[in-house]
Symmetry: C2
Amino acid sequence: MKAKVFVTLKPSVLDPQGKAIHHSVESLGFAGIGDVRQGKYFEITFDPSTDINQARTSVERIAKDVLANPVIEDYKVEVEA
Amino acid sequence: MKAKVFVTLKPSVLDPQGKAIHHSVESLGFAGIGDVRQGKYFEITFDPSTDINQARTSVERIAKDVLANPVIEDYKVEVEA
């Protein structure tokens, strides 16, 4: 069983790394790009014996308490059986 | 139109940051976790006038040339209209 966690900066928070990528990409000649935002991505593999609901609860708590800073970041969790 | 790019270390490449997260999470008492891998996540917003096929081609090239290091990293691209 695998869980994916996406952590992104809240839309109101400035993203200088994304801005730098946007600038690089434009100077390489790619056109039509409005914005680039950088985030983090985590893949958490559970032991096959783990209950899916328990895994979902664990991942939600891990995302909130360990992986994301809820003051400036949003997170999204996906659990695949 | 929005594109998402996921960059992950190839399975054969060691991920010390993921290992550190795994260790932290276990010492916090979460059980049943086999592995944690950290990757990067990018959201690229295109101007609404951009053609979807052109956007897809651009994002593929940006992912390969700018966002990922194909020697040690894999990438996946998703384009949403």
